[in-house]
């Protein structure tokens, strides 16, 4: 779920915008220009994925995959998520123009953490990859939901009800995302394990 324009108080809008800009600048510096097309690929895939709905009982939920983006891109993931959200807002009005900073923080910070954790813990066996991938993928979504609730709550105590609802609505999504991340990592491990290495350029030279 994205925060739309007009929800957050102006102080939070500006603050999260500045924080997002700083993180994005750092992310750009950490991105090799060799890797740009690949970051663009994950950005576009992130965009497409968020249009995929998974049935859940009588309704359906759409995927967020901040964790997977982090696993695939590492430090560049913040940039990918910021641009993915920008394009979603430009093309489909998911999220908003002024709330872009807040939305990018909400998805991008978990992505960065997930990338870091996955790289530290993944080990070398498929089993460990899958378990860590699942936990990280689910955890990323959980953290996103927590940040969403926190941001909504920044509007004052009047927003407590909405924040709680947003958090509860994400609980089933967190399970689904964990499982899907695990399956995706398992697939990539078997089919194209080099995608799981975050530094592409180092890989090309080798």
């Amino acid at each position: 779920m994205h925060i739309s324009d007009g929800v957050l108080p102006i102080g939070v809008v500006i603050g999260s915008g500045i924080a997002s800009l700083a993180l994005a600048a750092w992310s750009v510096r950490r991105t090799d220009s060799e890797d740009l097309p690949k970051v663009a690929v994950v950005t576009a895939s992130f965009f497409v994925t968020s249009l995929i709905h998974v049935p859940l009982g009588p309704t359906s939920v759409h995927l967020l995959i901040p964790g997977l983006v982090g696993i695939l891109l590492g430090p560049s993931s913040f940039l990918a998520i910021l641009l993915g959200l920008l394009l979603q807002s430009l093309l489909f009005q998911f999220g908003g123009l002024t709330a872009l900073g807040a939305n990018a923080l909400m998805m991008g910070v978990p992505a960065l953490l997930c990338g870091l954790l996955f790289n530290k813990l993944r080990g070398s066996t498929q089993k460990q990859h899958v378990i860590v991938g699942g936990l990280v993928g689910g955890g990323g979504t959980l953290l996103s939901a927590a940040l969403l609730a926190l941001l909504l709550f920044s509007g004052g105590e009047d927003f407590l009800g909405v924040a709680k609802l947003a958090l509860v609505a994400h609980l089933p999504v967190f399970l689904i995302e964990g499982l899907i991340s695990a399956f995706t990592i398992s697939f990539l491990y078997r089919v194209k394990p080099e995608l799981l290495n975050q530094r592409f350029s180092a890989l090309q030279q080798g």
Partner: protein, 308 residues
């Protein structure tokens, strides 16, 4: 704990109001549906692999002639000033102003409506939840329906929600005039001249291309899955299939991009597309931008003074 000014109402009134709302939304859905169906049969199956964000880039309206850099700064500034307001009245004025831009920029209204529809779920949640969950202040007016004493309906919550909806819609209506009145390449070039790094600009253009390619790819893969008898359900198997689907999408996308990038480099791509854009600033650009920023500031002043 409830201490606001309570207005007792019979339950029948609530039922009548709900019925009226249901009828109205049913009518709205019907009208919108007929409008959309009319549009869709006119152009048959749309080709999803072709980007559409700047479909109406050719035109002669005030917004088409406006220098993109001024347009970006002025309308973004206006958007931030709009979200800084608090009262529903200011939000409604902003909504009217934004709607007028859609007309002045000669943009098809149904595309702007589509944008509003995309937000309806999120905003609907606010309209529904805020009146029931806001903290009760002594000066609040509460509607309490007999039989539902535990669920007071706070009018201040409704006001808050209406302000949010108004602001969100106002900014959303600015999007088409902001983006669709110049080609995306030109808008992005304007962004670079405003200081956005070249790398980021290239990424926007590349990702925007790839999105439509991948959407088409995902659609093809989905058709393949359906032909093989896949039906999504709430089950682990579905999730496994979706996981593999995502993995396959990543693998295919990477391989395709690898080939495309090699081809681009062999044709002389050095990290930027040649962009033969010529920018010329006129007094009208300054004037137009100034008007929008002043409108935004005026709105904010009205909002803060009116509230006091």
């Amino acid at each position: 704990m409830v201490e606001g000014q309570i207005i007792q109402l019979p339950l029948v009134l609530l039922l009548a109001a709900l019925l009226l709302l249901a009828l109205l939304s049913l009518l709205a859905v019907k009208v919108l549906k007929s409008a959309f169906v009319g549009k869709q049969t006119a152009q048959k199956e749309p080709d999803w692999s072709v980007p559409v964000v700047d479909a109406d880039a050719e035109g002669t309206s005030l917004f088409h002639r406006w220098d993109v850099r001024f347009k970006l700064v002025a309308l973004l500034g206006f958007a931030f000033l709009v979200v800084a307001t608090r009262s529903p009245e200011a939000a409604m004025i902003a909504l009217l102003l934004s709607f007028s831009t859609v007309l002045v920029a000669q943009q098809p209204v149904y595309r702007s409506l589509k944008r509003l529809l995309a937000m309806s779920g999120f905003l609907g949640m606010f309209l529904l939840v805020m009146p029931l969950t806001v903290v009760t202040h002594p000066e609040d007016i509460l509607l309490v329906f007999s039989g539902l004493e535990f669920l007071p309906f706070n009018l201040r919550g409704l006001q808050l929600a209406l302000a949010i909806v108004g602001k969100a819609c106002a900014v959303a209506l600015l999007m088409e005039p902001l983006l669709a009145t110049a080609s995306l390449a030109r808008t992005v070039e304007g962004l670079t001249r405003l200081g956005v790094p070249e790398k980021v600009a290239q990424m926007i253009l590349l990702a925007h291309r790839y999105i439509f390619v991948f959407l088409e790819e995902a659609r093809r893969m989905k058709t393949g899955m359906q032909v093989r008898g896949f039906k999504p359900r709430t089950s682990t198997e579905t999730l496994q299939v979706m996981g593999n689907f995502l993995g396959m999408l990543f693998v295919r996308s990477f391989e395709r991009t690898h080939r495309v990038y090699a081809a681009m480099q062999s044709r002389g791509y050095r990290g930027r597309f040649p962009a033969p854009f010529y920018f010329k600033v006129t007094a009208g650009d300054w004037l137009h931008a100034g008007v929008w920023l002043l409108l935004g500031i005026g709105l904010l002043v009205f909002d803060r003074l009116g509230a006091a």
